[in-house]
Assembly symmetry: C2
Homo-oligomer: 199 residues x 2
Amino acid sequence: MALRNAVMAALLEGEASGYDLAKGFEASVANFWMATPQQLYRELERMEGEGLVRARVVQQERRPNKRLFSLTEAGRRVLRAYVAQGPSKPLAIRDELMVKVQCVDIGDTGDIEAVRAAVAERVERATAKLARYRRMQERMLAGRTEDEYLATADRVGPYLTLQGGMALERANLQWGETVLKRLAQRTAALGGGSARARA
Amino acid sequence: MALRNAVMAALLEGEASGYDLAKGFEASVANFWMATPQQLYRELERMEGEGLVRARVVQQERRPNKRLFSLTEAGRRVLRAYVAQGPSKPLAIRDELMVKVQCVDIGDTGDIEAVRAAVAERVERATAKLARYRRMQERMLAGRTEDEYLATADRVGPYLTLQGGMALERANLQWGETVLKRLAQRTAALGGGSARARA
DNA sequence: TTGCCATACTCAACAAAGTGAATAGAGTAC
DNA sequence: GTACTCTATTCACTTTGTTGAGTATGGCAA
C-alpha cells in the first residue's frame, strides 16, 4: 500500500495512463520508486475501486484506446494525510551490484574482472542518468536561476526530488570510479592479469 | 531468489546465526540489502535444504541454543556463478521520503512543515550512519592508509561496499541540507509561517 | 518482584511485488 | 512481406515481503 502513494504523487503532475506511468513513471517519480507495468495497472484498478483515482477512456484512432487516470478529491485527501503523518520508512535499497562487490574476493582475477565490468556498467548508466537529469533541470529552470525558480514556481517538489536523483547518481558515479581504480590496482597486484590459485 | 545471494555474501565473513544476520546483517551487507528476521530464517531454511549452507547447533548455557550457518562448497560455487554472470538488476530504491517531498506543494505551509520534519529526520539518520561507517572504516584500516590496506588485505569487498554506503549517506546528507534550506525559504515566502489558502 | 529488554528462534496468514506471456493494431526498417 | 518495435493493456502465477503473535531463558533496573 505504499506504491499507491507514489502513483498519486505522479498523478499530481496531471492525467496519465497506466502505460504513461509504466515508462518512466512520469519521468520524475521513477527516480525513487520503481514499479513494473503490471504493478501499476493492478494498483490503478484497486485505487479506482476505492475512489482515489478516476479513469477516463480516450478513444484513439491509430492506437489502442487508453484510460487516463487522474486524482480525485478523495485521493488528494488521502495523499495529504499520508504526507502529514509521522515517520516514513527509512529507505529501502536493494543493490545486486553491491552484493557482487562484496563478493569480489571470492575467486580469482576472473571474478574481479566480472565485478569490474558490472561496476563499469553502473558508472555508464549513472553518467547517462545524470545527463538526463541535467536536461530535465534545464527544462524546468527555463533560463531562470535556481533561486528565481524556487521563489516563483507553483510546485517545487519535482525539482527537489530531481535534485535528490542527481545527488544519488553523483554518489554512484564517484563511488564507481574509485572502485574501478581500486579493482584495476588489485588485478595488477594479484599477478598482472594472469590466473591465480582459487580461494 | 536474490536475498539468498546477499545472505551468502554475508556468510563470506564467517558463520552467523539467523539472529546475527537479522540485526545488522553482519553489519556490512545491511547497507545495501534490507531484510526482516522472518525473511532471513525462511531463506536460511530453504538454503539449507538446497545444500547452500550448513547449520551447526551451538549449545549455550544462559541463552537459547543457536544454529550457526556457514557457506558450503556448493553455496560458494553458486555465489561465484552469480558474481560471474551477466548484468545485474539496475538497483531498486523505494523512498517514502522522496514521495513526500514530491508532494510538498499539495497543501498549505503545514504540509511543508511536515515534509521539513521528515527531511530533518533523514539528515539526522544520515549523519549518524555516516559516523558509524567512519568508525567501521577506521577499525578496518587499523592505522594503515587506504592504499596499504587495499594492497595487503585478503578481502577488499567489504571495504568497497562500505565506501558505497558512505557515498550514499553523504549524498543524502548534502541533499537533505539543501532541501531544508529551500523549504525554509519557501515557508517564509508563503506567508512567514501563518496559514495560507488550500490548493 | 514485576516488568522490560536482549537473545534466539518458529509459525501462520496475508499483502505486495515480480515474472512471463498473451492480445492486438499500426508504424517502420530491411 | 516479414520481422520488429511501439502503444496499451490484461491474465495467471510465483516469489517476496510484512505483520503479529508465540515460546523460552536470563539479566537488569525500578
